[in-house]
């Protein structure tokens, strides 16, 4: 069982460290961790550095978390250290966006404007 650790950075900022497989098998517990993490503070950083893999269910979870944060006017970002397995899944699943095609006003997953466009 993987552990999902919520770490406080300052009063308003938290970091959620995910590890292991972010997949359908662990989806339920990840969802719970995300939900409780989003209840705290204004800024949440999700750290994916230690994950070993992610599947479509995992991506959906992150995307849903983004939408939730947006609705609650909170800031959700990804840690800058992105593992290759995450990028690969993004590419394979068509989640990856080219800057050329992305309009500003997007209801897309939150990370797109964050780092894909770098």
């Amino acid at each position: 069982m993987s552990e999902y650790k919520l770490e406080s950075i300052d009063k308003n900022s938290f970091s959620l460290h995910l590890s292991g497989q972010i997949d359908i098998i662990h989806a339920e517990s990840i969802k719970d961790s995300l939900l409780s993490a989003l209840k705290e503070g204004k800024n949440l950083v999700i750290d994916l550095e230690k994950i070993e893999g992610i599947d479509l269910a995992g991506l959906q979870l992150l995307c849903a978390a983004g939408k939730t944060a947006k609705a609650a006017k909170k800031k959700l970002t990804l840690n800058k250290k992105i593992p290759q397995c995450f990028t690969n899944t993004l590419l394979e699943s068509g989640f990856f966006r080219d800057k050329k095609n992305t309009s500003e006003k997007t209801d897309e997953c939150f990370w797109l404007s964050e780092w894909v466009n770098r």
């Binding site: 359908i24 989806a27 339920e28 990840i30 969802k31 995300l34 939900l35 989003l38 599947d55 479509l56 269910a57 991506l59 959906q60 979870l61 995307c63 849903a64 978390a65 939408k67 939730t68 609705a71 899944t89 394979e92 699943s93 068509g94 989640f95 966006r97 050329k100 095609n101 992305t102 309009s103 006003k105 997007t106 209801d107 897309e108 997953c109």
Partner: protein
């Protein structure tokens, strides 16, 4: 009768396949040899695989079943290499090269000698199997089936763009299907853009993590047909929303081949009503933004349409560049006759210009000038069609050097430069054998054994560098090795021993190196497996001479040897100097001419009947062409000597008059005159007169022999 025609047709098809296969095999060889250096290059592995695949496919189509079956085995192995399951080891490349040679042999012996080729095939396949061990044994029995399937598939379908909308059932995960794997399968079909749709993903608290909320829009360009796309989704089709449609070909009249506008795409996809589009268009803002602002379509849909636009644009550009590079295959004798006709045309045009210059008619003059321009252009185009880059020949040598290195126990790498240099096709073909011989010599005599090289402080791996470059109307081809260089003393001793030169003769370095080209000369102490081709250096020299080329050797002891071939660009047309003797015209190839000097009657008389003229202080032997060709009549007061260099020595040709430089189309003399010494061909002049083209080398030699004979008398 009908049957015969059918057979003829089949034969033509087979011939076409053979030609194609030869090209593919050459490509295969090149790719394999490059792969050997760069064994992880996916691009190269792909090239090898494609070549094999095409040979297999078209082999089966044209009734070369054996080749097809055999190639299939090799292809199977390379499929594994492509997938990264097997490394492109040296061993594998060795065997594949063997297989290549085997396919080559099978191609050329259509009445396959079942037992020998069969045995060889089995041998190679066994070798391959050893490499792949378990995997290939499993695939072999499937082979015929795979072949049959392939035949059923409409693989010849044209490339088309498809728009695929895939909204999987929410419970797709629970059925054990991973949508990403489906997407991967779609990617295998061809170039595609995949875009996920995430707008249906809810907020976290209402999200069931085991359900799939994501959908996809896919743009795919494939030639596999719509059915193969459907096959991908065959197991999920029932529960999912799947919509596959071919995007109409853009080349509708009136659309100017431009990619579709964003609005058009949205309308076509049913995301937007045409009327609304027109309304919006009048506002002239970026359409995507307007539409989203107006709440007519979602950003996601616009985005997806934008991807479609880009995808189609890309594939269209690709297709266009492919079209630009298309070529057609033409029998080379058709080209030859075209060049001949152009030659005639050049002659007629020259006559036309000459005639019109006499008739004072401005209109006629204008027409004649236009014809002149057109003819010049036509000649250039016709010539360029016969030109081929020399790189294909270079690649052949790569294999040669590889094989020889193994046999001789030497390590040699080949580097090339100027592979794009173009030369007349016939010239390239005729250069092949001499170059093979020269390279063999470099390998055999030039490059030292690795141990010896180490002792000399050189890299144990020797290098042979092939360089081709244009130089005026010539191409210079250099074969440069970094071996031991030529041994002056050894060559001289050998020549004396063979009685080719006298012991007392004092020879310059150049003259000594030229001894190599004498018939019957060989310094190799023992005959190795290499020198068995029957092509000696004398034959090399003769072939280059026949091409009106030139060969030169430069060497530095322990540093290496450079052999330079100077070859005219084309054989069909030469630059020449037109000269007159009595009433007859002759052409001397400009390439060999050094200068022209005058010879007055007194000068001629002052040398007491010997044919020597003083040119800037030194004596120059000359050949009175009038005597040589038995031309009578009055000798003019002032004659001209055309100084040419033949085999590194200067010789003069005495003529009445030098008329000028001209480009001439060479006509071969008929059978009856073919063996006349001193004449290499003829050309037709503008006024319809015939001028003979002088063979400078032969004439010089003939004069030399005659001179010797007269001295002995």
């Amino acid at each position: 009768m009908g049957k015969q025609m059918k057979e003829n047709y089949a034969e033509t098809m087979k011939a076409a396949f053979r030609e194609e296969a030869h090209e593919l095999l050459a490509e295969l060889e090149t790719a394999l040899l490059e792969l050997e250096i760069n064994s992880t290059d996916q691009e190269l592995i792909g090239r090898v695989f494609r070549a094999l695949h095409t040979i297999k496919g078209s082999g089966a189509m044209f009734g070369f079943e054996k080749i097809s079956e055999f190639t299939h085995e090799v292809e199977t192995v390379f499929d594994q290499v492509r997938e990264g399951a097997l490394p492109a080891s040296k061993e594998l490349i060795d065997i594949t090269l063997l297989a290549r040679d085997q396919i080559f042999a099978m191609l050329d012996s259509p009445e396959e000698d079942a037992t020998t080729t069969g045995l060889k095939n089995i041998e190679i396949i066994t070798l391959l199997k050893k490499l792949t061990s378990v995997d290939s044994t499993e695939t072999t029995p499937e082979a015929p089936q795979a072949e049959a399937e392939k035949a059923d598939q409409p693989s010849q379908e044209v490339e088309k763009n498809y728009r695929i909308r895939f909204r999987p059932a929410p419970d797709i995960f629970l059925h054990g299907t991973n949508p990403i794997l489906l997407l991967d399968e779609v990617r295998q079909l061809g170039e595609c853009h995949i875009l996920s749709h995430t707008s249906s993903i809810p907020e976290l608290k209402s999200l069931d993590p085991e359900k799939c909320y994501t959908g996809w829009d896919i743009l795919l360009t494939t030639n596999k047909g719509i059915n193969s796309i459907k096959d991908v989704f065959i197991f999920v089709e029932d529960d999912s929303e799947l919509n596959i449609e071919a995007i109409e070909d853009e080349e509708k009249p009136g659309t100017d081949n431009e990619p579709k506008k964003l609005g058009e795409i949205l309308v076509e996809r049913g995301d937007l009503a045409p009327k609304k589009l027109d309304q919006i268009l009048e506002e002239k803002k970026p359409i995507g933004k307007i539409l989203v602002d107006a709440g007519l379509v979602t950003t996601e849909k616009v985005e997806s349409a934008l991807v479609e636009q880009r995808h189609i644009k890309e594939t269209q550009e690709k297709r266009q560049s492919a079209e630009q590079a298309t070529s057609i295959r033409v029998a080379s004798d058709k080209l030859d006759s075209l060049v001949n006709l152009v030659g005639e045309m050049v002659t007629v045009q020259a006559r036309l210009s000459q005639t019109t210059s006499k008739v004072e008619n401005a209109v006629l003059l204008a027409i004649s000038e236009e014809v002149e321009h057109l003819t010049a252009e036509l000649r250039e185009t016709a010539m360029s069609m016969r030109m081929l880059p020399i790189g294909t020949t270079f690649n052949k040598f790569r294999r040669l050097i590889r094989d020889l290195s193994g046999k001789l126990g030497k390590e040699v790498t080949l580097t090339t430069e100027g592979a794009g240099t173009e030369l007349d096709k016939t010239v390239i073909e005729r250069l092949n054998d001499p170059m093979i011989h020269l390279i063999r010599n470099c390998m055999d005599h030039g490059i030292e054994m690795p141990a010896e090289r180490k002792k000399l402080g050189k890299d144990p791996t020797g290098t042979i560098h092939l360089r081709a470059a244009h130089s005026g109307a010539y191409v210079l081809i250099e074969i440069i090795d970094d071996g031991g260089g030529l041994n002056r003393e050894k060559i001289l001793a050998k020549a004396v021993e063979k009685g080719l030169v006298s012991r007392e003769a004092e020879l310059s370095d150049k003259e000594i190196y030229n001894l190599l080209f004498m018939p019957g000369f060989s310094t190799a102490e023992k005959v190795t497996g290499l020198s068995g081709r029957g092509v000696g250096m004398d034959v090399v020299k003769r072939t280059i001479d026949a091409l009106s080329g030139n060969i030169e050797i430069n060497t530095i002891k322990d540093k290496g040897t450079t052999i330079t071939l100077k070859i005219p660009l084309t054989l069909a047309i030469i630059e020449g100097l037109l000269v007159q003797l009595g009433g007859d015209f002759f052409v001397i190839p400009l390439s060999s001419i050094e200068e022209c000097v005058e010879l007055s009657r007194e000068d001629a008389a002052s040398s007491h009947g010997r044919h020597l003229a003083k040119v800037r202080g030194s004596l120059l032997p000359y050949i009175p062409l009038r005597q040589m060709f038995n031309i009578g009549g009055e000798v003019p007061e002032i004659q001209h000597i055309v100084v040419v260099s033949a085999d590194g020595r200067k010789v003069g040709f005495l003529v009445d008059e030098v008329i000028g430089q001209l480009q001439t189309v060479i006509k071969s003399l008929g059978k009856a005159y073919r063996n006349i010494e001193g004449i290499s061909g003829a050309t037709i002049l503008g006024d319809g007169n015939v001028a003979l083209i002088l063979d400078v080398l032969k004439l010089a030699k003939k004069a030399e022999i005659e001179e010797k004979a007269s001295v002995q008398q």
